[in-house]
Symmetry: C2
Subunit: 296 residues, 2 copies
């Protein structure tokens, strides 16, 4: 039976993950649930949490620290953004009223150009906890990829890109769905496509349709089409983010294939990047927030 000192929660739009933690920061047990914030109304968060890990509370209340979209306006309780430049971890977390002891880490906002993040600030805090005094640029690939300029322990500025969501919407809801199905992947097509939009970003809108036309006319197959779609979009993101990464120390935060694509694409531009595991930095960030709470 697990009796944690505190509970770490990563509560995104599509998933909920919880870790029973010891006071020394060790993971006692991990659980997951499909009850992401996107599927819940405000009164359904507490039941979802109790369902996933109610037994962790059998010996009395346990403090919980949560990050992610759980703190959005459409989430459980809105955790008002901290405005950059600022430390990734707000000094004050948002307390959830009710029967559980839950604190939510606020996201970050930027007035101009308008931008927001929720969840990534915790990963950035975790990355900095694991790499003290690091400065440079962090790339967090995903549905809404983030690039954050980090210096002296603060997020100076950041930009979001809809790359992941564009890939999903184009693959499922446009004429490209006929060409990109399956899991085949041709790495040369990816590398060429990254180069193409990096050097000529204005061509993106026509290059996208060309994926379909090339499939119809030349029958390159779905491995080429998928890799090309991914490469065109990541190349466009790298083109727009170039003022961020050019000549900087770069860290890419993410798990598995997607983060590796970014690392490879950057390496091809003579921009070496170190890769950090997303789960590890999320846990490190939640742990930093918990420590800050008990020492403040």
């Amino acid at each position: 039976m697990t009796t944690p000192d505190w509970i770490a929660l990563d509560w995104g739009t599509t998933h909920l993950r919880g870790w029973a933690m010891s006071g020394s920061g060790a993971v006692l047990e991990e659980r997951g649930s499909a009850k992401g914030m996107g599927t819940l109304s405000p009164d359904q968060f507490e039941p979802a949490l109790r369902e996933m890990c109610g037994d962790w509370l059998d010996h009395g209340p346990v403090p919980m620290i949560a990050c992610g979209m759980v703190g959005a306006r459409q989430g459980w309780v809105e955790a008002t953004y901290s405005a950059v430049p600022c430390a990734p971890l707000a000094s004050q977390l948002t307390q959830v009223p009710g029967g559980l002891d839950v604190s939510i880490i606020p996201g970050l906002s930027q007035a101009e150009p308008a931008d927001v993040m929720r969840g990534e600030e915790t990963q950035i805090a975790g990355f900095l906890a694991l790499n003290p005094n690091w400065s440079g640029v962090l790339c967090l690939p995903g549905s809404h990829s983030k690039w954050a300029h980090v210096s002296a322990g603060e997020v100076v500025s950041f930009r979001s890109f809809m790359t992941g969501e564009l890939f999903a919407a184009l693959s499922a809801h446009t004429v490209l769905r006929h060409s990109v199905q399956g899991t085949d992947w041709k790495e040369e097509a990816f590398a060429a496509a990254v180069n193409e939009t990096l050097s000529r970003p204005e061509r993106l809108a026509s290059s996208l349709f060309s994926i379909r036309a090339a499939d119809l006319l030349h029958g390159h197959g779905s491995g080429v089409a998928r890799a090309r779609l991914s490469g065109l979009l990541i190349g466009a993101e790298l083109a727009a983010a170039k003022p961020y990464w050019l000549g900087q120390q770069i860290g890419v935060i993410g798990a598995g294939d997607l983060a590796e694509l970014y690392v490879r694409a950057l390496a091809a531009q003579a921009a070496p990047a170190t890769q950090a595991d997303a789960t590890a930095v999320t846990l490190a960030g939640l742990t930093a927030a918990w420590k800050q709470g008990i020492t403040s």
Copy 2:
């Protein structure tokens, strides 16, 4: 009771339109059906056609000329593309086997950069029938907008852009759906967004997310968000199509609001464009194909 000399058919992915025509090119009657090519298997085309206008055939067989996706590989009968440079109207139409006298106008293809069109070639032919000896650049806005360089009665080259389908997919299937709902429209936001991606096309991927962030932070409302999304995408298309339209005579083919957006966006770049009605040029193109058939 309508007894046409021939029947004109515009058979796209989502719709079928038919016109009962006299030998002199006058429209006797017009009908429409939701049985677009996208909803039909090959054996369902003839029944769909008979259902819409079977009574026009009561006095015996009538030749029919069709354009659009009906001639695609997934359509009724594949009408093999004509490769540019070539006249928009192929000298040989594709005959449909079976009990009806149906000819399909082939689309156009371009090997490099790979590109295809089906239906727009008929509109281009119709535009040229109505404007003999015209040369310049034709823009055909839509799900897959086309830009075609036309000279000496031929399509020299063309490019497609997924602008319309991108707008639809982004509006319905990404986080932007929360911000762009409704029909409000702020023209200043459209004009500013066109300028933004026209001058800095590499920013598209981040500007898209910024629509959502600005709505969250500044609450500009859906009229700004919709107009901005449209403007960013059309600006990106105009940036990529600039080698086509810069310094050229420009015609925009299309009905209603969408074509007018393009005309306004081009006018703001000191590139005046004339607008031609899509239905009128489609009918003129089908009529040109019919005349070519009876005189050849």
